[in-house]
């Protein structure tokens, strides 16, 4: 257990306080001010205008679409994450490293390009474009395209949280369960799942935050049709471009609330996971 640097050796107090001061100032300017500004602009027209902006039909539709996209993307990537983590962490096979790199690909792709690749696949000029048009199926500029783009950009989140944790925990407990007569599903539900629950929750929280907040990718596939193919972030953009600042910030404050809830949950989960004996550290950022 390493010990703290004694103050006899550490920087003198004035230096320390200067550094703390600069750091705090930086944090306030960079992080706190924007939050404060969103709130103040949202309420600039009074509470009634604030609620009005949120209750507006287009805003409501945008909210519904955002929730729908998240409600599909998160569970889908959850199932994927669990499957990928199980096969990667509990077994030895060739090509594992390649698989890991491929899973990380969406992180490396710019959001706009994440949307573009689906346009090139399902748009009118895309590979499946003519076939889709012939069968009157709309993917691009419609909800399915938005869902797909959301799934893509949030693809690795849950897998990346689960894989290191499951690797760290090894296979001993699952093997013990096998010798005791447990079947595959029983082993997973009763032995593995409780051990990974915090990492799972953590991944879901991050995945959800990104799914609801995604802008670039959705912007490309959306078509920006008010009331139909706009998610909350897109709706914010529209309002802002129409110089309707109060409405834009009001809707934005909803998204900001999401961010704050995400941060709170994240911190709480980190606290619980560390208190749980033998829980490895989770990585937020690669």
């Amino acid at each position: 257990m390493k010990h703290r640097l004694p103050s006899t050796v550490s920087e003198p107090a004035p230096v320390r306080w200067t550094l703390i001061g600069i750091a705090l100032a930086f944090v306030i300017i960079t992080l706190v001010l924007p939050l404060a500004l969103v709130l103040s602009q949202a309420l600039a027209g009074g509470v009634r205008e604030f609620w009005g902006a949120l209750a507006e039909p287009d805003a409501q539709a945008a909210l519904r679409l955002t929730l729908t996209a998240a409600a599909i993307a998160v569970p889908a990537n959850l199932v994927f994450g669990v499957c990928a983590a199980w096969s990667i962490a509990k077994f030895e096979f060739k090509g594992k490293q390649l698989l890991l790199t491929l899973i990380d690909l969406p992180f490396a792709v710019s959001p706009v390009i994440s949307g573009l690749i689906y346009v090139l696949l399902f748009g009118l000029q895309g590979w499946f474009g003519p076939w889709l048009a012939a069968h009157d199926i709309k993917i691009i500029f419609a909800v399915p395209g938005i869902v797909l783009a959301t799934v893509f950009v949030t693809f690795p989140f849950i897998a990346r949280e689960l894989i290191p944790v499951m690797q760290e925990q090894g296979t001993d407990e699952e093997e013990a369960a096998a010798t005791l007569g447990a079947g595959g599903w029983q082993t997973f539900v009763r032995v593995t799942l409780p051990n990974i629950k915090w990492a799972l929750l953590y991944g879901v929280v991050l995945c959800n935050a990104r799914a609801m907040g995604e802008f670039g990718a959705v912007s490309v596939v959306s078509g920006h049709i008010r009331g139909m193919t706009n998610t909350l972030p897109l709706h914010v953009e529209i309002l802002y471009n129409e110089y309707n600042a109060v409405a834009a910030f009001s809707v934005a404050s909803l998204l900001m609330l999401l961010a704050i809830v995400t941060l709170v949950l994240k911190t709480w989960i980190e606290g619980r996971a560390h208190r749980q004996v033998g829980a490895p550290v989770m990585e937020t950022v690669r």
Partner: protein, 268 residues
């Protein structure tokens, strides 16, 4: 239940772990697989359990070929080197696990499970600790929970992988004697793996000395010490003297012998 290991070989990428190993273990025997690290003893144990699969050869339990039988159907009790206790379950739930995963029609009722777990915990002298979590137990206590858990499913054979390797010397000595006594009570065919000569000679009826994937000698503790069959055995068992029956404090088992219903066989 007798075990026959018939000409078993196993390789991993780049090296041969087991080479044509044959071994017969009579019902109720207590056998030690003794050898240095890497000699293949743990691999052999895991193959008997069904956790790893042999490349060639057969494993027979009472004459039945187990090669195609999955580990969960082999009725083996396996005690892992690092216990592999389910960290999020209490001691009680750990021991009861094997009973609760049985298919519905074979599963005992809650009362029965309760009784059995309590009986086992008493047997391993951990009565008051049923609601503790593994992280709250000492190494020796965890090892006994692992043993109780393995015994709960009425195993036909008990397999222990370096059971006392992670414990300090004093606890090891105590648990060794305790294991011997337990075996004398229960008469479950048992195989344990160790690299510690003292342990093997003190506890086992039969010692199997292994080296580099092959069996060097099979014999009683007296035989391998006084009549080593190969230079390796002579060197490996070198300066060891046979443990004498010591009058030191023995870890006692409770006076009540386990009932047949609990262990599914007539008590001795």
């Amino acid at each position: 239940m007798s075990i026959l290991i018939d000409n078993v070989s196993k390789h991993f990428v780049g090296f041969r772990a087991l080479s044509h190993v044959s071994l017969e273990i009579p019902t109720g025997g207590l056998v030690a697989l003794l050898g240095p690290s890497g000699c293949g003893k743990t691999t052999l144990l895991r193959i008997v359990a069904g956790l790893d699969r042999q490349d060639s050869g057969r494993i027979l339990f009472d004459g039945d070929d187990m090669s195609r039988i999955h580990t969960r159907d082999r009725r083996v009790g396996f005690v892992f080197q690092h216990y592999a206790l389910f960290r999020h379950m209490t001691v009680f739930d750990n021991v009861a696990f094997g009973l609760t995963v049985r298919p519905r029609r074979l599963r005992p009722g809650a009362d029965e499970i309760n009784a059995k777990v309590c009986e086992l915990l008493t047997l391993v002298q951990l009565e008051g600790l049923a609601q503790r979590y593994p992280s709250q137990l000492s190494g020796g206590q965890r090892q006994r929970v692992a043993l109780a858990r393995a015994l709960a499913v009425n195993p036909k054979v008990l397999l222990l992988d370096e059971p006392f390797g992670a414990l300090d010397a004093r606890v090891r000595k105590e648990l060794r004697r305790w294991l011997r006594q337990l075996h004398d009570e229960l008469h479950v065919t048992s195989i344990f793996v160790t690299h510690d000569q003292d342990e093997a000679l003190e506890v086992a009826d039969t010692v199997v000395v292994m080296n580099a994937g092959r069996i060097e000698q099979i014999g009683s503790p007296v035989e391998v010490c006084e009549a080593p069959a190969t230079p390796f055995v002579r060197e490996f068992l070198g300066e060891v003297s046979l443990p004498r029956a010591e009058a030191a404090t023995l870890v006692r088992l409770p006076a009540k012998t386990p009932s047949p219903e609990v262990f599914g066989r007539a008590a001795p």
